[in-house]
C-alpha cells in the first residue's frame, strides 16, 4: 500500500484542504484569458486528497482530454459546498474508501484505463450519481467552460444581430423570401 490507509473518521475530519494545479494547454483559450497559469481552490469540508479523487472521478465520468483541471475543479468546489453539514460528505467519503479498497489502496495511483475499470461498476450508485448529477451542471455552467467549448453565454445579452448570428459561410446563403429580411 503506497499511502497510509485512512479511516472514514479521519476523512470526515480532514476538511479544509485545497486543490491546486497548473494550466496544461498553455496556448488554449483558457490560458490566453487567465491572469496566471497556476490556480488553487480552497476546500471547506473536503480534504485535499478527497478533492483530488473527486476531480479524477469527474474526469472519468465526463472525459474531455483537452479540458483543464481548473474547470473540473468547479465540480469539486460545488460538491465541497454541498457536502458541508449534509449527508453528501459521508456518501463521498464512503465512495472514495470503496474506490481505494477496490484498487489495492490508492485509486489515484492507477492509470486511466484501470481507474475507469474500477469506477464503472459503481455507475448508478449514490456516490456516482451524486457526482455525475452535480457535474453535469457545475462542469458546464461556468465561464471557463463557456470559453473552452465555444459558448458565448451572457455576451448574447446585447444580441447577435450585428455580431455573427448569420455569419456561417460554408453553406450557400438561403434566398429570400424564405430566409427572411434583415431589419436594416
Amino acid at each position: 500500500m503506497s499511502i497510509p490507509y485512512l479511516s472514514r473518521r479521519v476523512f470526515l475530519k480532514a476538511g479544509g484542504g485545497f486543490l491546486a494545479g497548473t494550466l496544461v494547454f498553455v496556448n488554449g483559450p483558457i490560458a490566453l484569458l487567465a491572469p496566471s497559469h497556476s490556480w488553487a481552490m480552497p476546500l471547506d469540508s473536503l480534504s485535499s486528497r478527497q478533492g483530488e479523487v473527486l476531480l479524477a472521478v469527474t474526469r472519468q465520468i465526463f472525459p474531455h482530454p483537452k479540458l483543464e483541471d481548473a474547470v473540473y475543479a468547479h465540480v469539486v468546489k460545488s460538491l465541497d459546498r454541498k457536502a458541508a453539514g449534509g449527508t453528501l460528505g459521508k456518501v463521498l467519503a464512503d465512495g472514495i474508501v470503496k474506490l481505494d479498497a477496490a484498487s489495492g489502496g490508492d485509486w489515484l495511483s492507477l492509470d486511466d484505463n484501470k481507474k475507469l475499470e474500477v469506477l464503472t461498476p459503481m455507475a448508478g450508485s449514490l456516490f456516482f450519481e451524486s457526482i455525475r448529477s452535480d457535474a453535469v451542471v457545475s462542469l458546464y455552467d461556468n465561464s471557463l467552460a463557456f470559453t473552452h467549448f465555444g459558448y458565448q453565454g451572457a455576451e448574447g445579452d446585447e444580441g447577435y444581430l450585428n455580431k455573427g448570428f448569420n455569419d456561417l459561410t460554408w453553406l450557400p446563403n438561403p434566398p429570400q423570401p424564405d430566409a427572411g429580411y434583415l431589419p436594416f
Binding site: 465520468i61 465526463f62 472525459p63 474531455h64 483537452k66 455507475a123 455525475r132 453535469v136 451542471v137 462542469l139 458546464y140 455552467d141 467552460a145 463557456f146 467549448f149 465555444g150 459558448y151 458565448q152 453565454g153 451572457a154 448574447g156 445579452d157 446585447e158 444580441g159 447577435y160 444581430l161 455580431k163 455573427g164 448570428f165 448569420n166 455569419d167 456561417l168 460554408w170 453553406l171 450557400p172 446563403n173 438561403p174 423570401p177 424564405d178 430566409a179 427572411g180 429580411y181 434583415l182 431589419p183
Partner: protein, 527 residues
C-alpha cells in the same frame, strides 16, 4: 413603476367580477379581451411579477427565476419519469405564464386536424375525438390573433432573418425536397406595436429582454389594466373554487404573497393554469355536490393528457455553426405535418430549429449519460446544429393528471401526478422524425448525429378537453364546462387532440373567441 401600481382594484366581496386563474396565453388574453369590453376582471397569477429588465442571459439562473418548480410527481413509462421525476413540465410561474418562455412559433392547426377521429379513423388504445369546432369556426380568430401578436409572414409582417442554425436546416431541407423558411413567429422583425425588433439574442426561452417576442406580460396585461377593468394580483396561488347550492361557482380561494388565505367572490371563473394545474384545481375543489371534482361528472378531468410527440436531432459538422446565436426557433419545415398513414403512423409533425446553450445541452442532450460519446458531443458544441420535432401525440384515457395525496405543496395541497405512456403511434412518429432529421443533416455533411429524448414538456394539452357530448370531455366548443355554466376552461387543457402545431396561437385564438362568447352570455344574463 410596476404595471400594477395604479391599477383599478376590486373588493374581495365584489361578486360581479370575472376571476381568471392564470395570466399566460389563455388567461392573459381572455382577461384583456373581457376588460376591453368593459367587463371587470380579477386575474389571479401564482407567480411573481418580473419585467423584461429582470430577465437573465443565464440558462440555469433564469430557470430558477421563472420555471414552475413547485413539486409534481410522475408515473408511467415515459422517459421523463426516470430522468426528471419531479419536473414533467417546463413551464413558467410568473406573470405572463409560459408566454415568457415560449419560442414564438405561431402555426395554425390544419383543417383536418380538427376532425382527427373522422380523418384518422379509430386507433387502438387511443381516445381520438373530433373537436366540437371546425377550422372555419376558428379561422377569423386566428386572423385576429396573428394581427395582435404580430406573427411574421401574416399581415405584411416580414419574415425574421435566418441565423446560422437556420442556414444548416434550410440547405438540408432543400436536399430532401422539403420547403423551409424562417416561419410564422410572434417575434417582431421590425419595430411594431410599441415593441422592439428582434436583436437575435438567442435567449428566447429565458424571457425576451427587448420585448420583440409577444408575451401577455407586456401586451395583453398592461392593456387590460389600462382600461380600468382589470386587476392583476401576482403571487396569488389558487387553492380551490367554491360553488353554491345551485351548483354555480361563486368564489375562488387563494393564498396571497404572505401565504394568507383569501377569498375572492366571482360571477364567473375562467381557469387557465396550464394543463397540469387546471385539472389539479378542479380536482382539489371537490365538494359533497361534486365529489369527483368540479365539472368532472364525466370522469374526464385530468384524462387525455397530451404533451406532443417530441424529440430533438443534433448534428455536428467540420465547421462552426454557433447555433445559440439568434432566435431559438429560426426555421420551420412543415412537409411532414400532413396525415399520411403510409409512413406508419397517423397525424404528422413539424421540424423546427432549436438551440440550447452549453449548460442546457449538457442537461438535456441525453439525461443521465456519461462517458466519451456524451462528452464527444459537447466537445463539438461550436459546430452543432439542432432541430426539434413536434408532432401529434394521441389522447389516451390513461394518460392523466391525478392528485397525489401522499405529496403536498407549500400550502398543504395535494400535488399533481402526471402519468404518461407513449402510444405506439407516438413512438413510430418519433423514430420517423429522428430518421428524417438525421438524413437532412447528413446531406449537408454531418459528422455525428445525436437523438435527444423529449424535454420536460412545455406543450401540455388536453386534461379538460372540449367535446360535443358531455360524456366525452369536460367543456364545450367555447370552453364552458358541460356541468357548470359559469365555469370556463381557457388554456391548452381544452384541446381535444394535440395536433402537430405549437399550441400558443390556437390558445390565444380560442381565448379571443371565448371572451366574445362570455360577453354575450353575460349580456343575456345567462351567466
Amino acid at each position: 413603476m410596476a404595471m400594477t401600481d395604479n391599477q383599478k382594484t376590486f373588493a374581495h366581496d365584489d361578486s360581479s367580477v370575472v376571476v381568471v386563474v392564470g395570466s399566460g396565453a389563455g388567461g392573459g388574453t381572455l382577461a384583456n379581451e373581457l376588460a376591453q369590453q368593459g367587463i371587470d376582471v380579477v386575474v389571479l397569477e401564482a407567480g411573481a411579477l418580473y419585467t423584461t429588465a429582470d430577465f437573465l442571459a443565464d440558462e440555469w439562473a433564469s430557470f430558477a427565476q421563472l420555471a414552475w418548480l413547485d413539486k409534481r410527481t410522475t408515473s408511467g413509462s415515459f422517459r421523463l419519469a426516470t430522468d426528471f421525476p419531479n419536473l414533467p413540465a417546463w413551464i413558467v410561474k410568473s406573470v405572463g405564464g409560459t408566454t415568457v418562455h415560449w419560442a414564438g412559433a405561431s402555426l395554425r392547426i390544419q383543417p383536418h386536424e380538427f376532425t382527427a377521429l373522422s380523418t384518422y379513423g379509430k386507433v387502438e388504445g387511443a381516445n381520438l375525438l373530433d373537436w366540437p369546432l371546425t377550422y372555419d369556426d376558428i379561422a377569423p380568430y386566428y386572423k385576429r390573433a396573428e394581427q395582435r401578436m404580430g406573427v411574421t409572414r401574416t399581415n405584411d409582417n416580414k419574415g425574421l432573418p435566418g441565423n446560422n442554425n437556420f442556414k444548416v436546416m434550410y440547405n438540408g431541407a432543400k436536399n430532401l425536397g422539403y420547403s423551409c423558411d424562417t416561419g410564422h413567429m410572434a417575434i417582431n422583425s421590425e419595430i411594431r406595436d410599441g415593441r422592439s425588433l428582434c436583436l437575435q439574442r438567442g435567449f428566447c426561452f429565458q424571457g425576451c429582454k427587448t420585448g420583440a417576442k409577444w408575451s401577455t406580460l407586456y401586451t395583453e396585461l398592461p392593456r387590460g389594466i389600462a382600461t380600468g377593468h382589470l386587476e392583476l394580483r401576482p403571487q396569488s396561488h389558487v387553492a380551490r373554487i367554491e360553488h353554491d347550492d345551485s351548483g354555480k361557482v361563486t368564489a375562488v380561494i387563494y393564498f396571497d404573497a404572505e401565504g394568507n388565505e383569501q377569498r375572492q367572490q366571482a360571477r364567473l371563473v375562467a381557469v387557465a393554469g396550464n394543463s397540469l394545474e387546471t385539472p389539479r384545481l378542479l380536482l382539489n375543489s371537490a365538494s359533497s355536490m361534486f365529489p369527483k371534482g368540479l365539472a368532472n361528472g364525466s370522469d374526464q378531468v385530468g384524462r387525455n393528457y397530451m404533451r406532443h410527440t417530441t424529440g430533438s436531432v443534433y448534428a455536428t459538422f467540420d465547421q462552426p455553426v454557433h447555433m445559440y446565436r439568434g432566435t431559438t426557433m429560426a426555421g420551420i419545415i412543415s412537409d411532414e405535418a400532413h396525415h399520411d398513414p403510409a409512413r406508419g403512423f397517423v397525424g404528422g409533425y413539424e421540424m423546427e430549429t432549436i438551440a440550447l446553450g452549453l449548460p442546457f445541452i449538457a442537461a438535456f442532450l441525453d439525461p443521465g449519460a456519461w462517458g466519451p460519446r456524451f462528452t464527444g458531443a459537447l466537445d463539438q458544441y461550436e459546430n452543432m446544429a439542432g432541430m426539434w420535432l413536434v408532432g401529434e401525440d394521441l389522447p389516451q384515457a390513461s394518460n392523466r393528471v391525478t392528485l397525489n395525496s401522499d405529496v403536498t405543496d407549500q400550502y398543504g395541497l395535494p400535488v399533481a401526478n402526471v402519468h404518461y405512456d407513449d402510444h405506439p403511434n407516438d413512438l413510430a412518429m418519433r423514430q420517423h422524425g429522428y430518421r428524417q432529421g438525421a438524413e437532412l443533416y447528413r446531406s449537408v455533411g454531418a459528422k455525428d448525429i445525436y437523438e435527444s429524448p423529449p424535454y420536460p414538456s412545455t406543450h401540455n394539452l388536453g386534461t379538460c378537453r372540449m367535446s360535443k357530448r358531455p360524456e366525452d370531455g369536460v367543456c364545450n366548443a367555447y370552453g364552458q364546462t358541460h356541468e357548470i355554466p359559469n365555469l370556463f376552461i381557457s388554456d391548452g387543457s381544452q384541446f381535444t387532440t394535440s395536433t402537430a402545431e405549437n399550441p400558443t396561437l390556437t390558445i390565444v385564438s380560442l381565448a379571443i373567441r371565448q371572451a366574445e362568447h362570455i360577453a354575450q352570455l353575460m349580456q343575456q344574463k345567462e351567466v
